[in-house]
Subunit: 138 residues, 4 copies
């Protein structure tokens, strides 16, 4: 964590009361932490919308490992991809179904492309991309 | 606008710098207005997720008015609905295609239900629900 | 509506059963209409993500018309914008609050930019962009 | 994979042409696989919106492990939670920043609640919930 800066914010009393209720329900320790979370989420969304610097994404797949050679194809795409595959976790959901979470580093457009390639495979039932961040400066 | 309250927020210098760059690019006058917008958006999202008090939604449809009696059916559903249809705007996109924005008041679940009924009609090509707000206390 | 093409789709019996239940609950007349809606929504999402051809967006604002000269500024931005403002609808939510739905034509990036300019104004409490479509070929 | 059923779908020629272009760009093998993916995504979205049966979610956190005892608190919440924590993966993004993907089983509302508790911790910079699925019947 870097140096902390303190500044003043003005807000309508009614709005602030509602915000305080919401963050208490979610167990936030204080307003600053809740506001920092909103700011961080907005910056990450902006980066994925407009930016081209390298970031981090997590692809979460649900697939049927007995469907053809889907496991082999998933591995092949990860090795051929221009993005860096940092790590992956495999969870056995039941006899047929697996969940795989794959952490990727690269430009937003590259991560999206690799994600598209993984999702379209036969045997992959569901694929979602989490637009995350390296954590630097956040 | 109600009474303004002023309070202090602490934030990492790096994070604040990125936030300042983003809100300058989007033409915000100052940090307070940008933070209020983030807080308001979070409260509205929370209300639509968890709340049951009456709110406002806007259904935006694109449809082909020459497809069967879609216009008649759209009107019928709006009159039969448990939600209050406040107003609607009709735009002629071209010879066949119309855009209609319909402002609804009701509970989130009721507005969603009416929206589903409108979208499923044959002739309606695209339907999206905007989860908005009455503006009170926001 | 253009010429209809008919083709075959294969789907797991379990998946089809769940789909049929969902579309019955939403009052779809048949599978084809429900599948066409999914396809249209996917095409529109893809167009807003990757495309640069002119399309249609609807900006839905909630604002306090007594806050400074927000009404004047909203009009000014619409007139200065590079996108075409097709139409707008104004709804009086209560004594202070207004909802305005503004239909814009332009490239996705231009519509997003105009939307950002409208949302950041002081007095505008909530702004959401509906990524819609011209309806052509959809 | 269960028994395959085959049925006919009718679609406007223009719409089908656009769909074919989109799925070719995303490397789908055929229309059926692409349509099944759209159907599965719609069913999962519907389940998270309306359903109360047990499902699977993945929480992806970015946090600074040197910030107080955030690691300890993350573990504590996972152990105390009413949802089942199936597995988690920890990735070292840099000297300070970690990414953690946590696979949870439970009802949608329970998974959301646990996710809220994890995200609000000081030290957790970013938290996103992936609404996934057990894979059964999908």
């Amino acid at each position: 964590m870097g140096e902390l800066v303190r500044f003043g914010v003005s807000m309508e009393a009614d709005l602030l009361r509602q915000f305080d209720q919401m963050i208490a329900r979610r167990s936030y320790a204080n307003r600053s932490e809740a506001l920092r979370d909103l700011v961080r989420a907005a910056i990450v969304e902006d980066q994925w919308q407009h930016g081209s610097s390298r970031t981090v994404g997590v692809v979460c797949l649900v697939y049927d490992h007995e469907m053809g050679d889907v496991g082999h194809k998933l591995t092949h795409i990860q090795h051929e991809s221009h993005v860096q595959v940092v790590s992956s976790m495999h969870v056995h959901l039941d006899h047929h179904n697996c969940l795989e979470a794959i952490v990727l580093r690269g430009k937003p457009s590259e991560i999206r492309h690799t994600c598209d390639q993984l999702i379209c495979l036969r045997g992959v039932k569901l694929g979602k991309l989490v637009m995350s961040h390296t954590g630097r400066g956040l």
